[in-house]
């Protein structure tokens, strides 16, 4: 079952200009996810995107604690809801959390891409998939 919540939808509302950045953010996250699957979590802990974002940094540390995906999901959900972010910053955090869960589940880069692309909206998601595939994204981790 897919749950939806009007309050949540309102909290993550942002402008089209802000959303235009998402494909680039997703590309960077895919690169990080791919590196983790190939070299382990430690290899990305000093990446600037990870260092600059509390949720990513926190999530990767939780991953190193070996928590089950369900526990990680609950902790990340609590952090998102009770945190103070809204608008584009909140949407970004949701994408970070989705990336962390995908890495925790051992997904290949292809699968991670398909989990993240919908955050761009239907039209942009489809063009994002095409562009990244043409850019020769690592197909499997």
């Amino acid at each position: 079952m897919i749950y939806w919540n009007a309050g949540l939808a309102e909290r993550m509302t942002c402008s089209e200009e802000e959303k235009a950045v998402l494909p680039f953010l997703i590309r960077d996250l895919l690169s990080i996810a791919s590196k983790v699957q190939q070299e382990g979590v430690r290899s990305v802990q000093n990446e600037s995107l990870v260092v600059k974002n509390d949720l990513l940094s926190f999530g990767f540390r939780l991953l190193s604690e070996g928590l089950a995906v369900e526990a990680l999901e609950e902790i990340l959900a609590i952090s998102l809801i009770t945190g103070n972010k809204s608008g584009f910053e909140f949407l970004k955090q949701c994408i970070f959390a989705e990336t962390l869960l995908s890495v925790a589940a051992g997904d290949t880069t292809d699968v991670t891409l398909r989990k993240l692309a919908p955050y761009c909206g239907v039209e942009k998601a489809s063009s994002l998939l095409t562009i990244l595939e043409e850019e020769n994204l690592p197909r499997k981790s």
């Binding site: 979590v41 190193s64 604690e65 070996g66 928590l67 089950a68 999901e73 809801i81 009770t82």
Partner: protein
Amino acid sequence: MILNTVSKFYDILASRNDALSAHGIDSLLEIAKRFVYVIAQSRNGDKNALSFAIKEEKRKPLKFSYSLVMASTSPAYVGQAFRAAGLASTSEPEAQCEIEMLTAGTELALKNAHPVVIMQTMSAFLGFSVYEDTSNWLIEHFSAKPKSEELIIPGDLPEIILNGEKTDGEIARAVRIAGPELTAATFAGCPDEVVEYITSICFNELGAIMFDEDIAAARSRLSSDEISDAQNAFYELLESFNVNVTNTKLIAQNEESDKKANVDESLVSDVSNLILELDEKVLKSVLSNLSPKVIASLIQVMQPMAHDRVFSTIPSGREKKILDAIEASTPINQVELTRTAQFFAQKVLSTVSPHSKSLRTPLVLPTKVRQLLSSILSRE
């Protein structure tokens, strides 16, 4: 999807919007520590830990949490119990956060979650700033346990791990996919050297503590057969990455080879269709009579769907040799591809001939198979 989980809890939990003061966060963290400490003591065999805490605790919500755990309340009714007790009806941010935090912690305690998981979940209500403090406290309070005695269940896994046959990234990924229970069951039957290696590549200090505890629990709870089954499952998981990577390399190699050698598409189509049309017994028999090197070459002249059928037909014990041969192979030219395909077609014919010893009863070839064999063998 994270949005699903967030949606589910969104109306129950509240955005704090920086409403918690630094002092409030410190007080709430202390409450979480007190709760987790008592739960851990109770789990470690201190039968009076909960009743003593109920008697001594001054804070009503915390006292109530202990009583719910002691009464083994169903986790599903914890939130309802807090509301029924009148503890949830507050608009003051810190009091509200305390109730949400204790509700989550009590539910997890009743689900028998590890104290580290309970603490990390409760402290998530207080923001990222408390992570360091929380981790240090957990390390301080949960790292003193002696290691369990080594248990060795014979198997190939320790050698595969220590000989570097798999990359650290692959091993860590398998550990994440397997989850804590299967991972602990797997390595409960491995030498300490392997356990230490896994710890060093997969876990931080806190993760190492939980891994050690999970291994000790698995060693005391599981039979040798169960540990051996877990090792086999983990091994299969590790090997599956190899198949995926090899298939991907193969596809890429085939694509490259197609460009370079201008591969005869109709030959690829004929070989693929032949593989897909062949009776399973016949295909199994033919493949068992081909060397890994020939199969590796044959793979270059078929579509991915046919790869899958070949790999699903090959016994798992032989799969690794074929994968190694594929890894070692280089793209071959059109003439060699045609010869390999024809060699395969001849093997099919000899397998189904009336004099064949491979099959007990000769098979009648379907028309489509006959046409495909004829098409492959008639090429120059």
